[in-house]
Amino acid sequence: MTTMTTPEDAAPKAAQGAFLSVRDLYVRFSTEDGIVKAVDGLSFDLQRGQTLGIVGESGSGKSVTNLAVLGLHNPATTEIAGEIVLDGQELTGASNRTLERLRGNRMAMIFQDSLTALSPYYTVGRQIAEPYVKHRGASKREGRERAIEMLEKVGIPQPRLRVDDYPHQFSGGMRQRAMIAMALVCNPDLLIADEPTTALDVTVQAQILDLLSDLQQEFGSAIILITHDLGVVSKVADDLLVMYAGRAVERGSTRQLLTEPQHPYTWGLLGSMPRLMSDVNEQLTPIPGAPPSLLAPPPGCAFHPRCGYTDLVGGGRCAVQRPDLPLGRGSACHLTDQQKRSVFIETIQPRLG
């Protein structure tokens, strides 16, 4: 889980013992319109065998963060600053060769759209075997056997036959399983799943989510699950990180975030999504306005133009001063803890029914 240290000893140095430690990560793209501040000072830790859910809407920087961890950004247009430490090894300045040795081996990624993320030109078996052959020095034959074994593990019927199929011959759910098999083929210590179930039907999504958490118990990988869906993340993640406009706004255990959320944006997300058990007579409470442009994010707290509680802070502080997010449980908001608690209990919770 994310280290639940108290804010006082939240030193900017990479935490001891954390398997993955990200400190003050900045990712900037230069585009024709200007510099996009995709990730703006992000820090988090992840322990072995734990699942961290990163929640945010499009443009919140959640996917960019993880491409940066794997070093998959385009170096020509992207500027990265900060520390990414994987098991004691610094990744931000690492050479291409070092990253290639880690990718697919110690850290692997599952993408959202399995149809475009798998090559249409090679068989599923070959694509699964490739990292195994490269990183483990296995022969083609051993790679194929391993691919069959992995296909069986993720529940592809008749894996010995299906190993020679092409991705387009698989159904959507099966392709996503094949992608999971491909990511796990070298027993990675870190698995990053970027919206792994968003393109899937709900019954298939449930299968895949359960499969992921069951496989995690078997393989013991640490997982970063990126999603926009609080429901998905609540089923799988131990800890949550809520991102908005390239910054983390709240972190804590999944339980803490869902039962006593502290940040107005988290409140907004919870109020925006109807649930199967919520009161249908209660209107949804959307967040007004739209997410900001990352070319020119608002000064101070990036959420303040959409926030209904800036008056409680007073003095126009929200528009000027950027609130900090402690490394442990907490939220990046100028409201006092007392205010957060009372606003949630008095106004937010009753509406969530």
């Binding site: 697919g104 993408f111 798998l118 090559s119 249409p120 030109y121 490739e130 490269k134 092409y166 491909m182």
Partner: protein, 325 residues
């Protein structure tokens, strides 16, 4: 796969029938009497009538077309000479059947077109990929601007220029000529090297630009990113994943370009005085040798249709989604 080829061949036959009918009727729309050619100087209306009869020109046009098609398979004995099957008509200007002439000229045109295709694919795709690999670098910029300049070079301009510089003034290369490959491969090569290069200049420039842009596009595909996420090396990802994907658009354009390649070959033949199908076509036009012209047209369209079937087969080979659907 076999089914696919059979279906495509059947389709090709239908297309060829349409092309032949279209060309045939097109010729009869020309206000010119082919019989006049054979009639000579002392042409009387009676003579003309006899020739009309001998050539079958007294039949209505659809019947003539029918006879033309039948004679391809059966052959025919014209008054002017014998025309064994496959009989694509009889050239009265040359006093010989069309088919043997076509077969005689084919190797020159085929050598020229296929040879230059090899040249422009090698150079065009090679430089295009190099530019994509070093995207944004000086190499990329030089190659890209060079291809822009070259793409404005026309055969009838570059051809004589090259001849003057390399052959007549400095004697660096031989005067272009066609020597059959089976007779002397070295002379075949040295005789065609200038025409190949001249014909492929335009194509090389175009394929450089196309290969560059499709490669850049492919490198941004998600499955290419997945391959990188698996730890595959840069070169492996470039050649195995991105290159594989960019083959499809390249093959597509190649299929479309065949027509202009043949056209370019004809101009090249004319420029370098090579006796291929192109020269034959131009000569037939100047001599109003309609049967010969018709033969050349049918023959070249058949080649293009055939080549397109080949391209489709290559598609299926490249892309399993086509092969297995």
């Amino acid at each position: 796969m076999l089914r696919f080829l059979v279906r495509r061949t059947l389709g090709a036959v239908v297309i060829l029938l349409f092309i032949s009918a279209f060309t045939f009727f097109l010729f009869f729309a020309i206000p010119h009497d082919p019989a006049l050619l054979s009639c000579g100087k002392n042409c009387t209306p009676d003579n003309l009538k006899t020739i009309h009869h001998n050539l079958g020109l007294d039949h209505p046009v659809p019947v003539q077309y029918y006879l033309f098609m039948v004679r391809i398979f059966t052959g025919h004995h014209f008054a002017a000479g014998n025309c064994p099957a496959p009989c694509f008509g009889y050239s009265f200007a040359n006093s010989e059947p069309v088919w043997p002439t076509l077969i005689d000229r084919l190797p020159t045109t085929l050598s020229l077109a296929l040879g230059s295709m090899v040249v422009f694919l090698l150079f065009g795709l090679g430089t295009g990929m190099l530019a994509a690999w070093r995207r944004g670098s000086a190499v990329d910029k030089v190659l890209s601007s060079a291809s822009l300049v070259l793409s404005s070079m026309q055969i009838y301009f570059v051809g004589p220029l090259v001849l003057a510089l390399l052959v007549y003034n400095n004697h660096i290369l031989d005067q272009p000529k066609y020597v059959p490959l089976t007779q002397n491969p070295v002379h075949w090569f040295s005789g065609l090297i200038i025409p190949w290069c001249v014909l492929s200049i335009l194509f090389t420039a175009n394929y450089t630009r196309m290969a560059r842009s499709t490669m850049i596009e492919q490198l941004q595909e998600e499955h290419v990113r997945t391959a990188r996420a698996k730890g595959m090396s840069g070169a492996y990802v470039f050649f195995r994943y991105a290159w594989r994907g960019s083959l499809i658009p390249i093959v597509t354009i190649l299929g479309i370009d065949l027509g202009s390649l043949l056209g370019g070959a004809m101009i090249t033949e004319w420029t370098f005085q090579l006796t291929g199908l192109g020269r034959l076509a131009i000569d037939s036009v100047t001599k109003t040798d309609l049967p010969m012209l018709m033969g050349v047209m049918l023959f070249s369209s058949a080649m293009i249709v055939l080549f397109n079937i080949l391209v489709d087969a290559v598609y299926a080979f490249i892309d399993p989604r086509i092969r297995l659907s």
